[in-house]
């Protein structure tokens, strides 16, 4: 038994092997949510949530009442037609579902605002290409806007968790948090992130070896990976925004991340100051 939650595929044999474990079940089929709930109950698993990589348009995803029973991280490509989506808005905003939209599609930053303003919890997946100015506008809206609404991540995560002058890792929002989350494939092999799992870059050959994880060099390197920016004295080492991005976007061909995260940090501090004064909507 490990203290890590395991992000696993919806595979009966694997689920059976993980009895008693805390899991996040990964799927790309929206219709499988109800089955996942039944299967995790049957195998006595603690279901932290479902990571549903549905792709396509949010408007075309069939959401149903069974989703009320668990948290769903719903990854889609675009919002799609608002006129179609609005018929499901009431249900969607009442669920414990967070909609993930990537910056790869420029209109997604706007659509996150549309959805959040209607009470739907959202997360922006920050991937190249990124319009950092548009993202900064969204952050301002999320944290200092006139009305309270559905949360927008990673902004609200930082607003809730940032402690002045300490580093804060928002990776958990994206299931990229090896200190607490590990990724497992249908063979039971373990990787530190989903990306590494897809590459076949595993750190353990079996979930049965989890008790030895602390001794794995790659794991240790990842946990203390943030120190590397200072040892290498790279651009992140002197960036004020590093405390909340932890160098996540270095080397990704990104420019503009420094000013964005610096601004976001400022917004987070303003948000926390206003919350302290009871001035938030």
């Amino acid at each position: 038994m490990t203290s890590h939650a395991l992000v696993v595929p919806h595979d009966q044999d694997l689920l059976r092997r993980l009895k008693g474990q805390t899991v996040v079940v990964r799927t790309d089929d929206p219709a499988s949510v109800a089955t996942i709930l039944t299967d995790t109950d049957r195998h006595d698993l603690r279901l932290r949530g479902i990571w549903l990589k549905a792709g396509g348009a949010l408007a075309n995803v069939e959401v149903d009442e069974s989703w009320r029973r668990c948290r769903v991280a719903l990854e889609v490509d675009v919002m799609g037609s608002y006129r179609v989506l609005r018929r499901r808005l009431g249900l969607l905003s009442g669920l414990r579902t967070r909609v993930y939209l990537s910056t790869r599609e420029p209109e997604n930053v706007t659509n996150v605002r549309v959805l959040a303003s209607l009470g739907v919890a959202c997360a922006v997946v920050i991937e190249q290409p990124v319009d950092w100015d548009a993202l900064a506008d969204l952050a301002t809206y999320a944290l200092l806007g006139l009305r309270s609404r559905g949360s927008i991540e990673p902004m609200h995560y930082l607003a809730r968790n940032y402690v002045a002058r300490h580093r804060t890792d928002f990776g958990a929002i994206y299931f990229d948090d090896p200190k607490n989350l590990l990724h497992v494939d249908d063979q039971g092999r373990v990787a530190l992130s989903h990306r590494e799992l897809l590459r076949g870059d595993v750190v353990l050959q079996s979930v049965d070896e989890l008790s030895g994880l602390e001794c794995v060099e790659a794991y240790q390197e990842r946990i203390y990976g943030w120190q590397r920016h200072f040892l290498d004295a790279d651009a992140c080492a002197c960036c004020p925004g590093w405390r909340i991005c932890l160098g996540r976007y270095l080397g990704s061909g990104s420019s503009g991340c420094a000013s964005f995260f610096e601004e976001l940090l400022d917004l987070v501090e303003q948000y926390q100051a206003r919350r302290g004064q009871g001035r938030l909507g």
Partner: protein
């Protein structure tokens, strides 16, 4: 209740157009973005406002018009749209299918109709308007702007009957636009206009249509008998007011009303609520009224004006007059 301009484009060129000065000075292609639309919705909701009036230009020309209406309804607003009725077939189809089940109170149009005999109107424009009225019918409150003294209302009664429109007729005076030369009703013609309006009284009664007066009518130019009739047959109690309506442009610029679109323009972002915004423009209105009480000399000492029952006519007349005088008045009254 601020009017929100979705776009500054329009397909008509009405001789009295209130927005013409604003539209010629502004960017004609400016459209309200989703981000700013959401900001306005937040602003209105934060101010306790439940109505969302959409205006243009022609608001239905906005590429996301249907989505904006749907969104505002989903946010719990009651939406009314000021339109010319010149709406593309595609948009009309989308409106009809998307909002078919919305009650009138939640979503309706106020359609500004021109008399085709008196205002140059192309055949295709007229066809478009008729198509709109035929399709939207009872979802439409007809409106008419009086900009000439020989106006008629017959065509409006005909349209109400033919298309099954709401039996309320919104009547507005075309006011002067300071700094522009649009057609309008001059102060000395107002009495005549009121007389003419009341000459249609038998038609209003026979057709069971209720007149509703827009802002800027001076109460003292109505006879006791006319006021009594308005009380009995009018759509609500006529207020003879003139106060900041508030218009919000696609770039979030704010001004008190279209005739004063160049007057003390501000950004919506400078205000936290509608109350603050109204207080700002009311103060400027008060300054103008300090200089000149209203349209007529007797407005200065009029008890009805002091009591707030009549505003003394449209303030744009006074502001327009100040611009042609030597600049000796309080600085706030100048454009």
């Amino acid at each position: 209740m601020p009017n929100v301009l979705l776009t500054q484009r329009c397909v008509r060129a009405c001789p009295y157009c209130f927005a013409s000065k604003h539209m010629t000075e502004g960017a004609p292609d400016a459209v309200l973005s989703w981000e700013d639309f959401i900001y306005v919705a937040d602003f209105l909701q934060n101010s306790g406002e439940r109505r969302f009036p959409m205006l243009g230009g022609e608001p239905t020309l906005h590429p996301q018009f249907v989505e904006f209406v749907a969104y505002a309804l989903d946010r719990g607003f009651r939406v009314h749209v000021f339109t010319s009725g010149v709406v593309s077939e595609r948009t009309l189809e989308a409106i009809a299918s998307e909002f078919r089940d919305e009650p009138f109170d939640r979503f309706h149009f106020i359609c500004n109709l021109n008399d085709p005999e008196q205002t140059p109107t192309s055949a295709s424009e007229l066809r478009n308007v008729h198509r709109f009225l035929a399709r939207m019918g009872e979802r439409v409150i007809p409106g008419f702007n009086i900009y000439r003294t020989d106006f008629t209302l017959d065509f409006l009664f005909e349209a109400i009957n033919r298309f099954g429109l709401q039996r309320t007729l919104r009547l507005g005076l075309a006011h002067p636009i300071p700094g522009a030369s649009t057609a309008c009703i001059r102060i000395h013609d107002i009495e005549h206009v009121i007389e003419r309006m009341f000459s249609f009284r038998p038609l209003f009664e026979r057709m069971r249509v209720k007149p509703g007066l827009d802002c800027g009518f001076p109460m003292c130019r109505f006879t006791e008998q006319q006021l009594g009739w308005l009380m009995r047959h009018g759509a609500g109690i006529s207020e003879f007011g003139c106060s900041p309506v508030l218009d919000i442009g696609p770039d979030l610029t704010v001004w008190p009303c279209f005739p004063l679109s160049s007057f003390h323009r501000k950004s919506l972002l400078e205000f936290n609520s509608q109350k603050e915004l109204l207080a700002y423009y009311r103060r400027i209105h008060d300054v103008v009224r300090t200089e000149i009480g209203g349209l007529y000399p007797e407005c200065d000492s009029c008890w009805y004006r002091e009591d707030g029952r009549c505003a003394g006519g449209c303030i744009a007349h006074s502001v327009g007059r100040f611009q042609s005088e030597a600049r000796l008045r309080l600085p706030e009254v100048y454009l």
